[in-house]
């Protein structure tokens, strides 16, 4: 008798029950000499401790990249990477870019056409009161029609 696998009753979704941050690592690269790293260096000196303390689940590495523009590289648990160049940005703008990378899921950017997405799209579409036959309470309750 073949062993039957346990059928999945529900499909796990991140955020339903538990939320796991998709960003696992952020690399901050800067240059000591170049002026385009001014905002990045200010962010590293002043705001990085607060940012790192607020995100203990993200591994943060800081390393120089001499004679290059500053970048932030995000590594995600799906194996992908996203890089944002923060040249000539102010300290607060660098913080914004770091937040973007932190909140990203690592997927490619997709066009969003619908307000609500579904993992199991219905071929019939979403119910619409203006289409189809009229629904009466008597039909629902199984009462005889008048």
């Amino acid at each position: 008798m073949p062993v039957a696998a346990i059928r999945a009753v529900s499909k796990g979704q991140n955020g339903v029950g538990a939320f796991i941050l998709q960003c696992k690592r952020l690399d901050f690269h800067y240059c000591d000499w170049a002026g385009s790293s001014k905002g990045m260096n200010a962010f590293l000196k002043h705001d990085l401790p607060t940012f790192a303390r607020a995100n203990p689940s993200i591994e943060i590495t800081v390393s120089p990249r001499p004679r290059r523009h500053p970048v932030i590289r995000g590594h995600y648990i799906n194996g992908r990477e996203r890089v944002i160049c923060v040249r000539n940005l102010e300290k607060a703008q660098v913080q914004q870019k770091a937040e973007i990378l932190k909140n990203a899921n690592g997927e490619k950017v997709k066009r969003v056409n619908k307000p609500v997405g579904s993992l199991n799209e219905s071929v019939r579409g979403v119910w619409d009161p203006y289409r189809g036959g009229a629904v009466s309470v008597r039909d629902v309750l199984g009462l005889p029609k008048r």
Partner: protein, 314 residues
């Protein structure tokens, strides 16, 4: 604690109602009772023996001191609001803006960068300060303050000599005209005891002026202030303490401070000490570093050795 004026006024009104009754048939708290007693004393012109706090006592003293001030002769008390001085009106703003505030910074905005210019500025500051210090007139307190903005270039011809007996620094001028021009510029008295005139062809025996000893603290302070004023370069207090000769002062003025690297400032940051999720690298991360982090480098190394290939390139 800040007093609530409206609450105090209402409280006084309430107490005045109580005091008019003339007898205490009301059950009031201790603070209200004390306040009622104080009010009764005030109305009966009794001497004030109770003070609310030390602050109120200070206020009373200040008010008494204000009363003792003499009224100026031209003081005219205002009878209406229009005769008071108005602040913040349109005319007041125009009158204020008519006289723009001209701020003259102590240090010039533009710094001297060439070592020769810094050298000349330091020499000039030495000449000016020693000239003022040795003159019989003038304030010895602020030697650096009222120096001439445009001293003549003859300051560069002035040399220094140290008296062996007293150890005093003596200015040596090439001729009388140079001394007169410098005196006019500095406003110092010409009959200074330590101003010597010698021929410019003669060389001093005591060595270079940069090796003078800045022993007197007031003179040293004035020289440093004046040299900072002439060069525009600010010197830290720690450096000032360590400067004992003009040579060391010149070195401090000409040495550009080393740029602080981001790694050094992050290494000193105490907020990052307890964070385990932050790693700081002092050098650029190469592909080999990434392989080492993944544990892949040893495999690559073994394979390169097995095939007889160089590990680190050619």
């Amino acid at each position: 604690m800040r007093p609530l004026l409206q609450a105090v006024a209402a409280f006084d009104t309430l107490l005045s109602g109580f005091s008019r009754q003339g007898h205490r048939n009301y059950s009031i708290c201790r603070q209200c009772h004390e306040r009622l007693q104080l009010r009764a004393r005030r109305t009966s012109h009794a001497p004030r023996r109770v003070a609310f706090s030390s602050l109120s006592a200070k206020r009373n003293n200040a008010a008494e001191a204000t009363d003792q001030l003499e009224t100026p002769d031209d003081y005219l008390p205002a009878e209406t609001g229009e005769s008071l001085e108005w602040i913040g009106s349109k005319e007041w703003l125009e009158a204020r803006d008519a006289k723009p505030i001209r701020h003259k910074p102590f240090l010039p905005v533009k710094k001297l960068t060439k070592p020769q210019d810094i050298f000349r500025a330091l020499h000039r500051s030495l000449v000016e300060i020693y000239a003022r210090a040795s003159s019989t007139q003038g304030s010895q307190k602020h030697l650096w303050r009222d120096t001439a903005p445009n001293a003549p270039d003859e300051t560069q011809l002035v040399r220094f000599k140290v008296e062996p007996s007293s150890g005093k620094v003596v200015l040596v001028f090439p001729d009388r005209e140079a001394k007169a021009r410098l005196c006019d510029a500095l406003g110092a008295q010409m009959s200074g005891a330590s101003w010597t005139i010698e021929e410019s062809s003669r060389e001093t025996q005591e060595g270079h002026w940069a090796s003078l000893t800045l022993g007197d603290v007031a003179t040293k302070f004035a020289i440093i202030k004046r040299s900072m004023q002439l060069t525009g370069i600010r010197i830290s207090d720690a450096t000032i303490n360590s400067c004992s000769t003009p040579q060391s002062l010149l070195a401090a003025l000409t040495t550009t401070p080393k740029d602080i690297k981001v790694v050094d400032s992050l290494a000193e940051d105490r907020r990052l000490k307890g964070l385990d999720n932050v790693t700081i690298y002092g050098q650029r991360l190469t592909a080999m570093d990434k392989d080492q982090q993944l544990g892949r480098w040893k495999v690559i190394e073994q394979e390169l050795e097995r095939r007889g290939l160089p590990i680190f390139g050619s």
